[in-house]
């Protein structure tokens, strides 16, 4: 089966000269939850905005289920639902009216039963006749989701769905996303919270400074993220690593004063007790030890650092 979203060589340079997106190639598979992870200003929103028609691409193309977003924009956009990051609602309207409006805007015939299901699913039904401006921020965000779901999209874009949202709503949002995925909807969400990507995504794309630097299955990325480093400050420097320590694949640093051991926190056996026992047997003493978790930031640094080296 072909990918539901095929992004080829897509880039965006704004009139100001800012290159918000370097050429991106990415396929999104049918029915997956894809998280775009990156710091603020990385280009996540630009990427989504180009696909959804809010921003013109400078180069490249996007196919939504085979429909080009420019030549065949009607078919392409009919398949897409968008929940932008900024809270923007028709303040003086009601959730019911605004959801029905959205459905019409996407060319779908009225379907009050469906609108009711959507509003109930988002716990908005009791407030369906309230003016949106009287609703809380969380409720307004639900209204925006209801609008995006009103035309039964096959691909849903959630731009920072849980930014500035309370814990309860965040849980609801996660549950909703899973429900939608079970119904066959492909979901692309952006976030700068690693936990969120971890909780939700099947695959994760890391974007930084307009560049998609990594796309990986969540489990594999988590394995990388899950690695820790044990650092031992030795009492006496070692000239060479003793062969008895080969199985731990240690590195010797700082002219033999420091031993480093990378281990996987997800593994059942991390190998530390065995290593310490062996060091004791070999009579290698250490003054201090500490462990460090590799963070998303480390991954950014290592990835972007490598790029910089390659360019130099």
């Amino acid at each position: 089966m072909t990918a539901i979203l095929q992004i080829s060589n897509l880039s965006k340079t704004y009139a100001s000269g800012l290159q918000a997106l370097k050429p991106v190639n990415l396929d999104i598979q049918r029915g997956e939850i894809f998280a775009l992870l990156g710091p603020n200003g990385a280009g996540k929103t630009t990427l989504i905005s180009v696909i959804c028609g809010l921003v013109r691409a400078t180069t490249g193309s996007v196919l939504v289920d085979g429909h080009d977003i420019q030549r065949d924009y009607r078919s392409a956009r009919s398949l897409i639902g968008l929940v932008p990051q900024e809270l923007a609602t028709e303040m003086f309207e009601t959730p019911l009216a605004t959801a029905a409006f959205s459905r019409g805007l996407f060319g779908r015939p009225p379907d009050p039963a469906l609108i009711e299901r959507v509003l109930r699913g988002l716990t908005l039904w009791d407030k369906r006749k309230d003016r949106i401006q009287t609703l809380s921020g969380g409720m307004k965000r639900r209204v925006m989701i209801a609008k995006a779901l009103a035309h039964e999209p096959r691909v849903l874009f959630l731009d920072e769905p849980t930014a500035g949202v309370d814990v309860e709503l965040r849980r609801d949002m996660w549950a909703l996303v899973r429900e939608l995925r079970d119904a066959g909807v492909t979901i692309i969400l952006t976030t700068h919270y690693i936990e969120e990507a971890e909780e939700m995504a099947d695959r994760i794309g890391v974007i930084n400074k307009g560049e998609l630097i990594l796309v990986e299955e969540k489990s594999r990325l988590m394995a990388k993220l899950g690695s820790k480093t044990l650092t031992l400050q030795l009492q006496d420097p070692l000239a060479l690593l003793p062969p008895e320590l080969a199985q731990w694949q240690l590195t010797l640093k700082d002219s033999g004063h420091v031993l480093e051991y990378r281990f996987d926190t997800n593994a059942e056996e991390n190998g530390i007790p065995g290593l310490l026992r062996r060091l004791h047997e070999l009579g290698i003493g250490f003054r201090d030890l500490n462990t460090e978790q590799s963070s998303l930031e480390d991954i950014f640094v290592s990835l972007t650092g490598k790029r910089a080296e390659a360019a130099a």
Binding site: S75, P84, L87, E90
Partner: protein
């Protein structure tokens, strides 16, 4: 869910959705939307029609009170068309909800049909309400009712398009007001709403002919009383001309994404 959904060539449902949504907004505030112009018009009649008009002679065989009716209707229709259409598209830009318009499977033409259609409908209703109000003050005679409606509809559409352009151009509420206040109101007052331009002295009569509003008011008044400052064909051509200009600007806006898309 329907995977086999085929997008229509003309998204009539979207046009209808926008049209209904906009008219619903109008109906929610129908009181103030209609009451204000009705009161304003009544005041004009009290002041110009009764107080001053009684001391003025007939113009082209029409009593002064009746003479100003077409001009007054035009005055309100012009102003309200611009305001309604400009607000209609500026508001979603201001609140940020315009993202939905841009991401929906609709063409620029359909967006314009929805917004301008709804705004023009309001203006036409308003024009007819003012006409009804006027008929309470002065005996009205409409020589060419179909032409009258034709001019009303064409004027409403043209100036709603113009308002739509302002609504897209404006970056603030102040800018939204500035064109109607600074340009349209003076042009309307100098456009022969309250007098025949034949009453103007020498050079001013020529100057007045550069004012597009003159042609609208003149043509509209002709449909009532059968006489006009300028030939009806010229009025019609000028109105269509302005309509075409506005349409081209709107077309350009969507082609370039001006103030809508980056």
């Amino acid at each position: 869910m329907s995977a086999a959904f085929v997008a229509p060539r003309f998204n009539a449902r979207a046009v209808w959705a926008i049209y209904r949504f906009e008219l619903a907004r109008f109906l929610r505030t129908v009181g103030q939307s209609l009451l204000t112009p009705v009161i304003t018009t009544s005041l004009y009649f009290v002041v110009f029609g009764a107080a001053i008009g009684s001391r003025m002679g007939e113009i082209d065989g029409v009593s002064y009170g009746a003479f100003i009716v077409p001009g007054l209707i035009m005055l309100s229709v012009l102003t309200e068309s611009i305001n309604n259409a400009a607000f209609g598209i500026y508001f979603p830009r201001w609140t940020g909800t315009s993202y939905e318009l841009l991401s929906a499977p609709i063409s620029p033409f359909e967006i314009v049909c929805g917004y301008v259609g709804a705004a023009a409908t309001k203006s036409i209703i308003l024009g007819l309400v003012i006409l009804a109000t006027a008929s309470l003050f002065v005996p009205l005679h409409i020589a060419h009712p179909l032409w009258m409606l034709g001019f009303l509809v064409l004027t409403a559409l043209t100036f709603c398009l113009f308002g739509f352009i302002i609504g897209i151009w404006a970056q603030s509420w102040e800018q939204l007001q500035v064109i109607p206040m600074l340009v349209i109101t003076p042009l309307t007052f100098l456009g022969g709403a309250f007098y025949s331009i034949n009453m103007l002295p020498g050079i001013w009569k020529t100057v007045a002919l550069f004012n597009p509003i003159v042609y609208l008011v003149s043509g509209f008044r002709w449909s009532f009383y059968g006489n006009a400052d300028v030939a009806v064909a010229v009025s019609l051509a000028a109105t269509f001309g302005f309509f075409a200009v506005c349409l081209s600007v709107v077309w350009w806006i969507f082609r370039t994404g001006y103030r809508l898309k980056q």
